[in-house]
Symmetry: C2
Subunit: 276 residues, 2 copies
C-alpha cells in the first residue's frame, strides 16, 4: 500500500492509472477510521481495480466553534485498517488547498435544512473538498455512508449537476453492539454520555417497531421519540422524503427518520428507514 | 461534422473518445460565431485529436435586465464556420440543466470587481455552465479568449482550485478592421454607435502608444482615455495586474488596461496589454 501526501503527485498517479484503463474506487474520509469506514472500503474494493482512501480533516467544513482542533487522528491505526481491507493507496495531504484557494461549490435547497440549518457553511465545505478530491483522485466510483444521509444526497446532487462521470454509491449505516451509529466523534463520549447516546438509536428502532404495529404520523413519532430520547439538546428530528429530503407529515411511503442531537459537547447524528 | 443536442449523449461520446485514448479540445461559445471564435477554434484544432464546440446561450450568466432574450443566433452560419475550421462535433443542447439543478460554482475575490461589480451573478453563471460543460465534454484542453479577460482568469482559478485536469488556454483578442474588438453583441450597434465603439479601442491604443514615449500612471491614463472615449456611459476603466487582477497605480511592469462601457443599450468590453 502506497501513501501519497502531495496533491499533484496524487493526480499524476490517478491520471496515469486512468490512461492504463484501470478503474479507480474512492472513499474520502477524515481519518480515525472505524468499522463504518471499513464497510465503505469493502464496497469500493469490490467495484474497482485501484482503491484510494483519502484522509484529510477538512477545515472548510467546520464552523467557527466546532471541533476542528480536537478532531481525533490515529495514522497508524488508519494504515492498519487500510492494509487489512486491501486499499491500494492512502492519500493523506498535509495541506490540500492552494494558498489562494477561492472557489466554492454550493448546493442550494438541499443544504438549507437539517444539518445545514445549524451548520450554515458545512455543506459548502463538504462539496468543495469532495469536488477537489474528485479532481485529484479521478475516481470512477466513490462510496459515502448513509450515516451522513444529507451529505450523501448533497453530493449526489452536485455530481449530477456538474455532470461528473462518477458513480456515487451510498452504503448502509453501521452500528456498534449497543446500537450507537459508528462515528469518529463517539470517542468524545464518556461512559454516561455513551448511555445517553444509545437512546438515539433506541428511539429510532422504537419508531420502526411501532410502525409495524400501527400507522404513525410525524406528530406521534415526535411524541414517541421524546419519551425515549435522553440527550442534552435535540437539534432536529425530521421525517423526510428519502430522495428530495423534504419533510413529510404521514408515513405512507418509504421515509427517512433523521435525528441530530447534542450529548455534552458532542453532536451526534443518526437515521433510519421507515417503511409503512 | 456531428451535431449533438443531448447532454447525456454528449458525455457518452466524450467518455468513449477518452477511453480510446483520444485527446479532446473544447471551445465553449454562445453561438453567433465570428472570426474571434474562429481564432479560438484554430488554436484548439492544433492541440487535440477531437474538437468540440459548444453553442449554448446560458441563462445563468445573464442578469435580470440583460440581453438574454435578444442574444443573436444563426445556426446555419455557425455550422458553416465550424465545418470550415475542422470542428468534429457541435454540442448544441436545447436545455443544458436538469429541472432541479441546484449547484453553483463560485469564485470569490476575482469576481467581485470589474465586470463582477455591475453583473453580480454573472461569473457564478459562467463558472457553473463551464464546470457542467467540462463534465459533459471531458476536454483535455479548452480555449477561452482574452477578450473576456476577467472570465479567463476566473475560469483558470476554479479549474485549478477544483483540480480539474484541463489545460486552459488563453487566446488573443481579435479586432475588426476599424479596431473594434469582435463580439457577437457588436451586431446591436447602429452605424453611429459603431463609430462611438471605435473610440474604445482608439483610447486603448493611444495609451499604449503614449506609454512608448513617456511613463504614465493610472491618473494620467484615465485623463488620456477620457479625451478620446465617446461612449454613453463608462462602466469601468482599470489598470490591473494581469494575473491577480488587482488594481495597480503605476505601469512599472506588464499591466492590463480594461474598459467596459455602454454604447446605447449595448455593453462593450475591451482590453490591452501595457508594457512599460
Amino acid at each position: 500500500m502506497k501513501i501519497c501526501t502531495d496533491p499533484s503527485q496524487m493526480q499524476s498517479i490517478a491520471l496515469s492509472l486512468r490512461e492504463q484503463g484501470k478503474t479507480i474506487g474512492f472513499v474520502p474520509t477524515m481519518g480515525f477510521l472505524h468499522e463504518g469506514h471499513a464497510s465503505l472500503i469493502r464496497i469500493a474494493r469490490s467495484k474497482c481495480d485501484f482503491l484510494i482512501v483519502s484522509i484529510f480533516v477538512n477545515p472548510l467544513q467546520f464552523g467557527e466553534n466546532e471541533d476542528l482542533d480536537t478532531y481525533p487522528t490515529d495514522h497508524e491505526s488508519d494504515e492498519r485498517l487500510c492494509t487489512t481491507e486491501g486499499v491500494d493507496l492512502i492519500f493523506r495531504p498535509l495541506s490540500l488547498y492552494d494558498t489562494n484557494h477561492n472557489t466554492y461549490v454550493n448546493v442550494k435547497q438541499l443544504t438549507e435544512r437539517l444539518c445545514g440549518a445549524s451548520r450554515p457553511t458545512h455543506f459548502q465545505g463538504v462539496c468543495t473538498v469532495v469536488a477537489r478530491l474528485f479532481g485529484l483522485v479521478q475516481p470512477n466510483i466513490a462510496v459515502f455512508g448513509e450515516k451522513d444521509y444529507q451529505q450523501l444526497a448533497v453530493i449526489r446532487q452536485f455530481v449530477r449537476d456538474l455532470a461528473m462521470p462518477i458513480d456515487i454509491i451510498g452504503a448502509p449505516l453501521i452500528r456498534d453492539e449497543d446500537g450507537v451509529a459508528l462515528s469518529s466523534r463517539n470517542q468524545y463520549l464518556n461512559p454516561d454520555q455513551r448511555i445517553q447516546a444509545q437512546t438515539i438509536s433506541q428511539a429510532l428502532f422504537s419508531v420502526q417497531a411501532e410502525l409495524k404495529k400501527t400507522a404513525l404520523d410525524v406528530h406521534s413519532i415526535r411524541q414517541l421519540v421524546r419519551q425515549i430520547l435522553d440527550v442534552d439538546e435535540l437539534d432536529y428530528l425530521e421525517c423526510i422524503d428519502p430522495v428530495l429530503l423534504v419533510p413529510v407529515t404521514n408515513i405512507d411511503k418509504p421515509t427517512r427518520l433523521l435525528i441530530a442531537a447534542w450529548v455534552g459537547q458532542t453532536r451526534l447524528i443518526d437515521n433510519i428507514l421507515l417503511e409503512p
